[in-house]
């Protein structure tokens, strides 16, 4: 089977600083892959390269969907989203002064097409499209469990709900691959548990592959099929949760050298 996302020797330099060094990564269809590593290891930079916010200095990024393989390097963020990669942000980036529903409706933007004239004359096609955007968005909110907040402003939501709304908004773009940047950051145990179920549920029902960055090791070990560990922009380990937990290089990166060894 062909991987959904294939990253070959990706390198990202900021001046003299090499944030990502020759990183290879693969995400198979319907797989949950975790990307972990200490602070400043280059995980978020990696996401920014894939989603087109940064243009990588070297290496290739390929997305394969429905048997078509496309190179994503140098595409603008909105084109990448259109190809089928959606993301959430580490520091929540919702549209604060828009309602919850409108936030999700923005996600539908790249799958709809009505223009200026349609907006002014409100022809039949535009009206139907608009109705569909509203009902589709509501369905997504129901699925994520945020339907009781529909008309609430995003800024008034409780923290955990804001994180879930980011996921809902990303799902609205109909992605094949979902990138989650620390989805459980700042959540309590119960919220993390719910998130855990949500992520697995998205994978199972929508057939979406998921690549996530996370510091909550319990969550990572529970849901990931495979884990990549990076440190100083380099991949130091790769494997299933059990292998990673026993890997000496990982333990060293996280806890430091054992003085007795």
């Amino acid at each position: 089977m062909e991987p959904v996302l294939e990253v070959n020797s990706l390198t990202m330099d900021f001046g003299g600083l090499r944030a990502i060094d020759q990183l290879n990564l693969r995400v198979m269809p319907s797989e949950i892959v975790a990307l972990i590593g200490p602070n400043g290891a280059g995980k978020t930079t990696f996401f920014n390269c894939i989603t087109g916010i940064y243009t990588p200095s070297a290496g290739d990024i390929f997305l394969s969907v429905n048997g078509r393989r496309e190179r994503l390097n140098g595409l603008k963020p909105n084109r990448v989203t259109q190809k089928g990669i959606a993301r959430t942000f580490q520091n929540i980036r919702l549209f604060q002064n828009m309602t919850v529903l409108e936030n999700v409706m923005i996600g539908r933007h790249c799958r709809t097409s009505s223009g200026i004239l349609g907006a002014i004359f409100r022809d039949r096609r535009t009206r139907l499209e608009e109705e569909k955007v509203v009902s589709d968005s509501y369905k997504i909110l129901e699925k994520i469990g945020l339907d009781r907040f529909v008309n609430e402003l995003a800024m008034n939501l409780p923290y955990g709900a804001q994180r879930r709304l980011e996921i809902a908004r990303a799902l609205a773009t109909e992605p094949f691959l979902l990138l989650l940047d620390e989805p459980a950051a700042g959540m309590n145990q119960k919220e993390t548990q719910e998130l855990d179920e949500l992520i697995v549920n998205i994978r199972d029902t929508e057939n979406i592959s998921i690549l996530l960055i996370e510091h909550d090791m319990k969550l990572v070990m529970r849901i990931s099929d495979r884990i990549y560990v990076v440190d100083y922009g380099k991949k130091i380990a790769r494997g299933n949760p059990l292998e990673i937990q026993r890997n000496p290089a990982v333990i060293k990166a996280y806890l430091g050298e054992d003085p007795d060894a």
Partner: protein, 405 residues
């Protein structure tokens, strides 16, 4: 109960301290005066009393308004529906229809009830409503701080002036042409500033506005320079000859029609796929792109569709005054239009309309205080920003209802 009382006493004490401090500070300049003719020192104690009483009252009022604002914020945060009392009254049908009826009656009978002077003022006010609604797209919805909006107004006015001068084109032919030319000018400005935000964008657009004005002023062969273009025809109606009075009334109704058209279009744009994209761009540019919105296209449509209304407003302005020169298109105009949007309420159509009416009609009717105009203007803006930063009428997001299946 006693807690509230203590609070009031504390506030009054602070106001008292402030007034004492002001009396002390102004003592040397306001109280002591050396009379060099008679070589005596005059002690003007009454000035100190005026300073003391006025700062005490001013500070007490300021504190009172701040506490009222805090209270209302607490209430707003608690209730899920984000409507103000004004908007609640507005959505009540028993109140809405009679009010609308009276308003329509007033608007139609206005030029017949009042003098031509009043009608002319109202035409100017309506032009500003149109300009405000146009700039509202750029600043209020898309969040692009544009300080050179007057350039598009000038493009509209000069389009009519020059097309009429050279080719004899009439008002109605020029109106759409000017709208298109202004939209093109909007795109022209939009391209170089795509990457800029906030303050940087403001500076560049400010420069753009000045460039247009300076070109008009100095390129004599093209624009007739500072002497401007005279004898621009007033709006016509099927070639009928009209007296000045009739024409003013006609212009008034043309302007009413154009404003209604603007409201209609802007309202529809605001509640559409494109309008949402603008607001998303204002809220968070990076997230907006990550959601698949083309930043370039969204910004350019905002600039173009915002400029369109300035172009049309410019045509009406040229037709109304029958004379244009670059002096009408200074940075000051841009600032007024921006104030209309900010004071009225960013992104709110009703807010912008009321802002435009307040800011254009008040100076006209307060001519007696014209020396203090800037002072009043300044005080008004500062207090609005402190006590009601969301503007006169706040923008309310649309709500949807769903039936459970």
């Amino acid at each position: 109960m006693s807690g509230i009382f203590m609070n009031v006493r504390g506030e009054l004490k602070k106001s008292f301290q402030i007034s004492a401090w002001f009396m002390f500070l102004t003592f040397p300049i306001l109280v002591i005066r050396v009379n060099t003719v008679e070589n005596v020192i005059e002690w003007r104690w009454y000035n100190m009393a005026i300073v003391g009483v006025s700062t005490f009252l001013g500070s007490a009022l300021w504190r009172y308004l701040l506490s009222v604002k805090e209270k209302s914020q607490r209430i707003n945060a608690a209730s899920p529906g984000n409507m103000t009392s004004f908007q609640k009254a507005f959505s009540d049908k028993r109140f809405f229809y009679p009010a609308l009826f009276i308003l329509i009656g007033f608007v139609i009978s206005f030029p017949f009830l009042f003098s031509m002077y009043q009608a002319n003022i109202m035409i100017t006010a309506l032009i500003y409503v149109m300009l405000g609604l146009g700039l509202n797209i750029v600043v209020g919805l898309a969040g692009l701080l544009d300080l050179g909006y007057v350039a598009f107004y000038a493009v509209g006015a000069y389009s009519y002036g020059l097309l009429n001068f050279h080719f004899g084109l009439g008002f109605w032919t020029t109106l759409p042409i000017a709208a298109i030319l202004a939209a093109l000018a909007g795109i022209l400005l939009g391209y170089p500033v795509l990457r800029l935000r906030g303050d940087y964008l403001a500076i560049v657009t400010l420069g753009f506005g000045e460039i247009i004005r300076l070109v008009l002023e100095n390129w004599g062969e093209f624009s007739h320079g500072p002497s401007g273009i005279a004898n621009i025809p007033r709006p016509s109606l099927l070639g009928i000859d009209m007296t000045l009075t009739q024409n003013t009334i006609f212009t008034y109704f043309v302007m009413i029609g154009l404003v209604l058209f603007t409201i209609f279009v802007v309202n529809r744009l605001q509640n559409s796929r494109i309008g949402r994209a603008w607001i998303a761009l204002r809220e968070d540019e990076i997230a907006c792109q990550a959601m698949g919105i083309d930043r370039t296209r969204t910004k350019l449509t905002a600039f173009a569709l915002g400029a369109t209304w300035a172009g049309m407003g410019g045509v009406v302005f040229a037709a109304k005054t029958t004379f244009i020169n670059p002096a009408s298109f200074t940075i000051w105009e841009s600032v007024i239009i921006l104030c209309i949007v900010v004071l009225g309420g960013m992104g709110s159509i009703l807010g912008v309309i009321s802002g435009a009416l307040v800011l254009t009609l008040l100076p006209e009717y307060l001519r007696a205080f014209s020396e203090y105009r800037m002072l009043i203007f300044g005080i008004m803006l500062v207090s609005m920003m402190v006590f009601r930063p969301e503007g006169i009428i706040r923008n309310v997001r649309r709500t949807y209802t769903f039936s459970k299946e």
